[in-house]
Subunit: 285 residues, 2 copies
């Protein structure tokens, strides 16, 4: 593409702090109007946030299978009807074409553009998938007094392709991408117990301690995100990461795929802790 | 069909008690040989058992969506590749064409036959789905000292179509089918906490107390299974039931659908409690 991705996105006229106290639905309306294209961490605290993957229907069954087979990196929280942009099981009036702050467009596995709205690109054969993300468990860890360095230092969490292979489905395959947070051992144990309560936000860690055991040779050289400072007595703790399905989708090279931009998630009307065995809610009269 | 379903099934030459002490894989080999077509409750205790639904691929994406949207009645535990009869994510060498003790064949929503093997019916466009079942949580309740009347009295649990509507997906829709067990209130509370740990076996109850609140007018007239005796101080406790997806499939009237026969489940090599956040297990060298 001739124009850089950045110049195509209208600049935000709202700031992150403006969303304080807003509900998920209120925040989404501002995203829909193009008022904000930043990250969603801390917006509508306690509500489920999701990674987004939009694919043509020919890929949808295999991608569903990929998520079912790999629930830790790919916890499926919502699937649209084919051709419908409404994520009606995750909230009222969620239009996946406009309600995420920032999107990425991939063609044949290659990043082509970054845009604030995809209404003009929507097709009748698209299926939208939402997958749980780490924001939910990070909120819970912080609430329990476990410090998270990348948040304290306003950095992006370090992410690595591990040698923990996902279970393939059709063209979707690859190593589990893991995010790493340095913690003291006692906090790592508490974090494991807390995160196990959030199976729809990647659940308990997949590894802690020696990075080499999961194929990571240099902890200071993440594949995505920033290098993280370690302090005395801290060990690396690794969680399955929502970049795993994005990575699998890129290597499957579908003709087109649209995702959220990193950190700019779908903010849902569903509480983060309530999705696993959500109660049926509609009674017929 | 001219011949009754019963006469088509070779009689079992093994008895339920013969499976005591066998692993899931050992038991499946006997099912595969046609040695047994009875129920699987108590076989390979502690291992995950599953309801089975086999559909042509044209229905598979909608059925996947139906399960994702209704995780309590339809907890998806495994999906085959299209055309492959191997349920490789649920155990080694599970051939869904022969490894279930007894199958039911539906055409256009109507029960046509009951057979011990479906190898001759298998098609390259079939997708097999396995869904968690109540045996897992019943084992856990009994282990915790909570008595279950239908098991003590060797009856089939009572099942009812409730007015708790499932979230539709394509042609799949309908009320949640619930199973009912009478318990003292204190046991009902403990059962709720125990069952919440088994999201892949329907999770916590969906209702307890007044049956009319979920549209059940006569507790003594279940839609499936047996009438259950109540004793002093007991209340009815209702769980989402694996008959829900079978009911939804029947009303969707697919040209063909194959399921397990009631009680004759797929016995997996996966522990019943470990499936929700199962750890990735394969490391690349």
């Amino acid at each position: 593409m001739g124009q850089s991705a950045e110049t195509r996105v209208a600049p935000s006229y709202m700031h992150y702090a403006d969303f304080s106290g807003m509900t998920a639905a209120e925040a989404r309306l501002h995203f829909r109007r193009g008022a904000y294209n930043g990250h969603t961490a801390g917006i509508a605290p306690g509500m489920l946030q999701g990674n987004v993957v939009i694919l043509p229907v020919e890929y949808a069954l295999d991608f569903s299978r990929y998520c079912q087979r790999n629930p830790q990196p790919c916890p499926l929280i919502g699937v649209s009807d084919t051709g419908s942009p409404m994520m009606h099981t995750l909230g009222s009036d969620i239009d996946i074409r406009s309600d995420v702050p920032l999107y990425r467009i991939y063609e044949n596995g290659e990043l082509k553009d970054e845009v604030g709205d995809i209404t003009h690109l929507w097709r009748n054969d698209f299926v939208a998938f939402a997958l749980g993300c780490s924001f939910s468990f990070e909120d819970a860890l912080i609430a329990d007094g476990i410090p998270l360095r990348h948040i304290e230092q306003n950095k992006t969490v370090g992410m690595y392709v591990s040698n923990i292979m996902t279970e393939p489905a059709g063209p979707f395959a690859g190593g589990t991408v893991v995010s790493m947070r340095p913690l003291h051992v006692q906090d790592a144990i508490r974090a494991s117990a807390i995160c196990a309560r959030f199976p729809h936000a990647h659940g308990q860690p997949v590894h802690m301690g020696d990075p080499a055991l999961i194929g990571i040779t240099d902890i200071d050289a993440p594949d995505w995100g920033d290098k993280t400072e370690f302090r005395d007595g801290e060990i690396p703790v690794f969680w399955a990461c929502g970049v795993t399905p994005q990575n699998a989708v890129r290597s499957a090279m579908p003709s087109i795929c649209i995702t959220h931009a990193p950190g700019s998630m779908l903010v849902c009307d569903v509480p983060a802790w309530a999705t696993d065995s959500k109660q049926p809610k509609k009674h017929q009269n």
